[in-house]
Symmetry: D3
Subunit: 247 residues, 6 copies
């Protein structure tokens, strides 16, 4: 691996995550609730269990997991108008909520879930880069909590979540591969990538976008290496939260 130390806020190393915090039960109203923090980025992830499925799954015996993502207007330094006021959901929001939904479905046995839906609401309270990867990481934990409740109540014999899944961003800034970019770094990145991986190391999603200049196969390899170790730390944090003694 080829990560040189460069100056990052709070003396972070190039391959170092920001301080990660997962707070369970942030609201008492949801079936699963986790406030996830990646540094200053804070996303509230709430899981809802509904006893219906989308039309195309009716009578299929299979369930569904989906997500909605939104930013509070003042999650950002400059106020972002509400999508409810503008009367439509923007492209970026659509892209992110589809990504969260796909990531979570990759680790859930939808047949074992049965004909019910789980909706993960991911609302960004404060944004400092990496809101979509924080949302995936927090939503996976909230989903696990909600599924555990279905097991505890006897609704399901075992959790249909096969393993944990988490996500992190990696980017190239001034030629350097950096892990878990904050907003400042993200806006300077030449390449921006998001990686979603499972506890057992399987890749769920690899997205690497050249923002200014194309990147090479070697750079892609380095980004994936750095992302992998970051994700393993995130999954360890999730696991600690979900361990019996932590609840």
């Amino acid at each position: 691996m080829n990560v040189h130390p460069i100056f990052r806020a709070e003396n972070r190393a190039a391959d170092q995550l920001r301080p990660i915090r997962l707070t369970p039960d942030f609201v008492a109203t949801a079936e699963g609730s986790v406030l996830v923090e990646f540094g200053h980025t804070r996303v509230l992830c709430n899981a809802t269990v509904e006893q219906t499925v989308p039309g195309w799954l009716r009578n299929s015996g299979k369930g569904w997991v989906t997500a909605e993502y939104s930013m509070l207007p003042r999650a950002t330094l400059t106020r972002t108008p509400r999508e409810s006021e503008r009367g439509k959901i923007g492209g970026r929001t659509h892209e992110i909520q589809r990504l969260i939904g796909r990531s979570l479905r990759s680790v859930v046995d939808l047949r074992a879930l049965g004909e019910r839906s789980i909706i993960l609401d991911c609302d960004v309270l404060q944004a400092d880069g990496g809101t979509r990867t924080a949302a995936i990481t927090g939503a996976a934990a909230a989903l696990s909590l909600a599924l555990n409740k279905l097991v505890a109540s006897g609704t399901l014999p075992a959790s249909p979540m096969r393993e944990l899944v988490a996500a992190v961003s990696v980017g190239i800034v001034e030629g350097q591969v950096l892990l878990d970019l904050d907003y400042q770094e993200d806006s300077q990145a030449e390449t921006d990538s998001n990686v979603v991986m499972t506890a057992s190391g399987g890749l769920v999603e690899t997205q690497a976008t050249a923002e200014r200049t194309p990147y090479t196969r070697d750079q892609l390899t380095e980004m994936l290496d750095v992302a992998s170790q970051g994700i393993q730390q995130l999954i360890a944090t999730q696991a600690a939260l979900l361990a019996p003694s932590a609840s």
Copy 2:
């Protein structure tokens, strides 16, 4: 006054507020940020200062104060679909955000504010009744914080906020006048009212709605008496937060 003790959650007296908490700077991104809690009801109130005014105020020398209100989908025990997904703002939301805006403007000297707008975003994280009165109370504090910053930075010579303002609900449940209704009480109330009052005791808004059976002039008088003392406590809490030593 004629308030008999009846059974309320956590042994609250009929004329007693729920535990009130105002947390300043809940997010670091907004010009003024207050998390307000009335018992289990939690509303994040963020103030944004913008250097523009709505069209009808251009070149008037006057500013504007307005509010937007929203509930996160899982603020409630049953998930409420997002208004951004439905593509339109509902009547209840419109009604509440207009009430918050009017209440705040009643204590601000819009000419002294100058041609700038302050937007108060009130997002309900958890709802247990009284979200609109909590929002007014928290938003008034967030507005004060934002105006104080404009004074501190030398943009304004003095805060254009003439006095504090707060709000509380009062209702009639089984013939009893109760202060600061939680969700359970609110859904049983025969009459539901919201009162907005200033520190000096001036009435800004009185709304009393018969949900099932009409109410009498005497009952209205009693509701206003109970609300008045509750609001004075709320304003004391705001004042404590805003006192120099608290910041």
Copy 3:
């Protein structure tokens, strides 16, 4: 009571209504139709009986009463764009139609109505202040006409309308309490209030809003006194229209 004579259009006394007129059967197409005039304010109120109820009332045995409110573009001196052209209903419209619906439901026994809905369409043909209070007053009469037809046709054994209900505005202009404000007075008012009351004197809705400066408890009392006598006159007018000899 403390109402001093001040100059009003057409030498109206401070506590005097404008000329009130209720014209039944303004259109022949509706189950109940009343054109209501408060001075130059003219609102067409049409009642529709539908044999369905909103989803949440299905199989409850209970009916529903609701209202829609709209202004024709040239009801006002300056043309107001249609909400159908803008593609959404504004906050003021939502607020008014919710108020009309609540007011009417307060005097109807929804269980006796059975599983049917009555929709009151209130369309303002000409606006000179007080359109929402005129709408409530006219809609109550149109609702009564429609319910009487259900009795006449044998669909219902008796009208489920327990008593009449009407509404009027009261405001404080230059410190004076004035009844039934026209547009000119309304735009100068320091406080603007709307009161909805039943024939037996029960309060259904009290809304008093400080437009510029807060008002006192004494002023609220005076406004309610003036409103009460105005509403009794309105209800007398409704009763005359609905009396057997008038139909």
Copy 4:
């Protein structure tokens, strides 16, 4: 001409108009206001003069005349939901308001009007067939009244309206050509046509639609003959309203 007597409501002859009435100044708020009645069909036509033109006419020296059309929900025997509630204008409404606008522009010298717009709001209070032809006929009168005011106030040296224009429907019912169809006749018509013609006999719009079976050239000729004489009567009614002694 080949019009056999057939039974029509109120013993109308096949080539006879329903009772026509034009009431000027139905509202006092608009620059020109006419309530037009074709039998039970009643349309309120209000003209608004605005000092702007659509973008594509800016700096062209030319004005614009346009129309908006709407039906009150209970203009019809069965309630029609509001387009504002559904959030979009339907195809039929678009088609009608485009027809009204084109018809009026055909008799106005847009260059002589100067860079201002006249909007004709046509709101159907009660519908019994022929609402679009009544709207054109009433709107032409309201437009004339509004333009006369611009002349009276010295804004324009002379009215830019070259001549009057009116419209009527003609249809084929059971093989018979009938003038000015009411709703009952319209719903039985094999062919439905609308003709717009000027005072000097020029055709502005001919629309003839086979609803069930195609029609012949001879039938089209007969429909146009019957329409012509009906329109001349409508224009005589407009002229009487607009004559100096009538105002």
Copy 5:
């Protein structure tokens, strides 16, 4: 007839169609697909058979034929923004798709079709005037192809299409009646008309609109004469395509 030779692109005679081409099976995905070309105007007409009918036809035993019309953004020399981006369908689009639908239904026995719907999607790839008449002409052919497949598969015993139908534009340019106007001619026309006629000569729709100055009865007669012979040529082209040997 009174058609003088005037200069038209490619030396076209006043009563001459542009080169007409109908290409069947332009896409393989639709039940019936025809690319229709009137000179440079190219419209892709695809027929879809659905096994449902609109609500008002359920259990009526009757089917429905409807159309949707759209222009690709660069069908025109200046790009036209998509209606999907603007979030609503414009008035012109509504008018055209209603016209196409009516024209096709006039030649289909809806009872013989049974409870199924046929949707004709008419998408303009390149526009040079006459897109709506080309669309009707191409859609009638696509509809016939789709119905023939229902017969071939044994779903229907015989095609419910009674006869062919086609459409053409006629206009008056500098006092001359011209057939099948291209964009350049259309934008200069004093009168613009569209005629829809069946194979047996029955009129389905006659629309003649004065764009600048009213037209006379004689001019209308001449336009209909010229249109008739044009439509007979169009129907011959359709018939050739649909003849057994052509498929």
Copy 6:
């Protein structure tokens, strides 16, 4: 590389593209027009040059390249309702048009383009998998044609397009890496990826999504190898089209 022969339609090898065709000037109305075909997938790509830029680029001296993507309703075997009818753009459409825009901007010197925008409209006429990669490939060619015209007309001294760019899909079906999936293969794929690459081999976008089961690093490597050689063939096809002798 580890690609075993498996059965594909038309005996395609696992690493073989479908027949590729680029037809220039498919419409005459656009500044650049290319019909791209990847087997049965056909996308019409039209480039529009506009002399404005989005607000955030005004006075920056820089231009913009963006894309819109849409499918005709019958591009698919089952009709897809139009987004214009539903009144909003779906998430998938947003995602695709953002991807096309980013891909094209990566090879354009926006400063050399100057303050003008190029919009690429990508309309799918027939869909059989890979519509987004076909769209990128065709749009790059249409963009190049449009830029060449700006050079030919003297508006720009040289084309601001630094190099060609193309895209292809790769997927894993039954454990095999397949290039350029058709619809049938795409719906069976365990992993679906899209790769965008420039003529010089730089990566612009790598998106690899596990549809059912996570994929390994080795599989990702193999997919990128297969995609690379496919893209080089696509770029050769673009280059042939754009070579002077081809125009």
